[in-house]
């Protein structure tokens, strides 16, 4: 490594600073520090690559993730005054602490942790592309220390990067790309149905037991019950309150790892009463298959033509279905012909589902959704 005292001017503040130059390895290009120590410490970035020292992310992404915003002065006199103050501050505080707004607001960010590169990225140390070769004029051939490759597409915004923009965290194409990735990350939206307080947990391997799940989920609020389905490698967590379920969903979605297994967290499917296997609804479980089915129908569609309307959100209406009280004339006649006359794909399933344990929210929800019933009723009525 070579040290050159006051060898170059800082590319941000234009003051001379001590330049270090070194070769990062075989077949790599020489690297050198580009900005001075004070400028680097204000932003807590590397003097060479201008990436954040903790996460290795561009300044813009880091600031976005940490909700940090520092307004560095851009005009000459202001900048000098500011840097003078910073120099004094850094001299007094010791030179290892990050300065600027980043130093004040140190909150670990989940988004940053996920975006951060976990393995070293040696590609940036490769030699630059030989500009003569690109023009077809390189006469050095094999001896040429530069890379004989075509550069990336010049219309690509990533090829237009600029050191100052990267430092100040504005118009950074790399950061834009990363932030776009963040916005496109899957988000877990809570269902509109406020009665849903259960979460589905997928990928539950054999060595994860109920205790482990409870140990993770009790931090978000009181857990009503946990149903493990080892055959399906899944579990359902029922919370007592909607609020704690929401917290658990946002706190565990895409980041729940138990015993080395990455678990998938989703909301339980909404189907009114069963509540994704809600605790001890024994009456429903022992429901008689055939007579129970028509009785449940009117509860779902009190108004059959409002197809796209909101599902019934009244919590009281669903747990106690008014058995055949609201519109009995519609149902009993159409159903028997349905099973025989129209060989629709839904009828066998419908009957099976009635026989099934109601703790299976997935099946129940697909069959129990209003449109399916609507279709059958309409077909049945037309027949």
């Amino acid at each position: 490594m070579l040290k050159d005292s006051y060898g170059d001017e800082c590319k941000v503040c234009l003051r001379p600073f001590t330049v270090f130059r070194w070769c990062p390895g075989a077949r790599m290009r020489y690297k050198k520090t580009e900005i001075c120590q004070a400028c680097a410490q204000i932003k807590n970035v590397c003097q060479t690559c201008l990436l954040d020292l903790e996460y290795g992310l561009p300044v813009q992404v880091r600031d976005h993730g940490m909700n940090v915003k520092d307004n560095l002065p851009q005009s000459d006199v202001n900048k000098e005054y500011f840097l003078q103050n910073v120099d004094n501050q850094l001299a007094s505080s010791g030179k290892t602490e990050p300065g600027g707004a980043v130093g004040k607001a140190q909150a670990p960010s989940d988004v940053l942790m996920r975006l951060a590169r976990t393995t070293p990225y040696y590609k940036r140390n490769r030699p630059h592309v030989c500009s003569f070769w690109v023009k077809g004029e390189c006469k050095r051939g094999e001896e040429c220390p530069y890379r004989h490759e075509m550069p990336t597409d010049p219309t690509d915004p990533l090829s237009k990067q600029n050191l100052k923009d990267r430092y100040y965290g504005s118009n950074d194409p790399v950061a834009d790309k990363m932030l776009k990735q963040v916005s496109e990350m899957p988000q877990l939206t809570a269902p509109e149905d406020q009665t849903i307080t259960s979460l589905y947990v997928g990928g539950v391997e054999g060595d994860i037991n109920e205790k482990d799940l409870r140990g993770h989920f009790y931090q978000f609020g009181e857990v009503n019950s946990i149903h493990l389905v080892p055959a399906q490698k899944c579990a359902f967590i029922n919370f007592t309150s909607r609020h704690s379920a929401e917290q658990a969903a946002s706190g565990s979605f895409n980041k729940l790892v138990l015993k080395g297994h990455r678990l998938k967290v989703l909301w339980g499917k909404g189907q009114g009463s069963s509540g994704a296997g809600g605790g001890g609804k024994t009456g429903e479980r022992s429901l008689p298959p055939v007579p129970g089915l028509p009785a449940a129908l009117p509860a779902f569609d009190p108004d059959p033509f409002n197809l796209h309307g909101a599902p019934p959100t009244d919590p009281k209406a669903t747990p106690t279905p008014p058995r055949g009280s609201s519109n009995p004339p519609l149902l009993p006649p159409p159903l028997p012909p349905l099973g025989t006359a129209t060989p629709g794909p839904h009828h066998p399933l419908l009957q099976v589902c009635a026989l099934r344990d109601l703790r299976r929210p997935n099946i129940m929800s697909t069959l129990g959704s209003p449109p399916t019933y609507q279709w059958i009723i309409n077909r049945g009525a037309s027949d």
């Binding site: 075989a26 094999e142 001896e143």
Partner: protein, 144 residues
Amino acid sequence: MPKVKRSRKRPPEGWELIEPTLDELEAKLREAEADTHEGKRKVEALWPIFKIHHQRSRYVYELYFKRKAISRELYEYCLNEGYADRNLIAKWKKPGYESLCCLRCIQPRDTNFGTTCICRVPKSKLEVGKIVECVHCGCKGCSG
């Protein structure tokens, strides 16, 4: 600079045998001096000079030490008249420097870490397939 005239001393025996070759090399050197720098890198400009200088000294060295074709007097005469580089030839006599390209490449004071030029690194010590070309004289390796 104009060519300094040779001393009035009569050239020793055998001079007329080696004179045409030395004159030819001299002419090549003048040509290289006048050559344009267009299209050359900054470091490349002096490479031909170093190369011809090495060639000329080598010619005299081989004649006297290897082929033993010229007399001691003629060899001394060539050195005095500036046809061969006395210091370069002195290096060639030492083990390990038998084919040294130029004196600049063994000048440690000129390098950052007090080492010699990359062309002084033996091929066996370099990584396989690495092609070197030193910046001083364009040498591609003079250390066996």
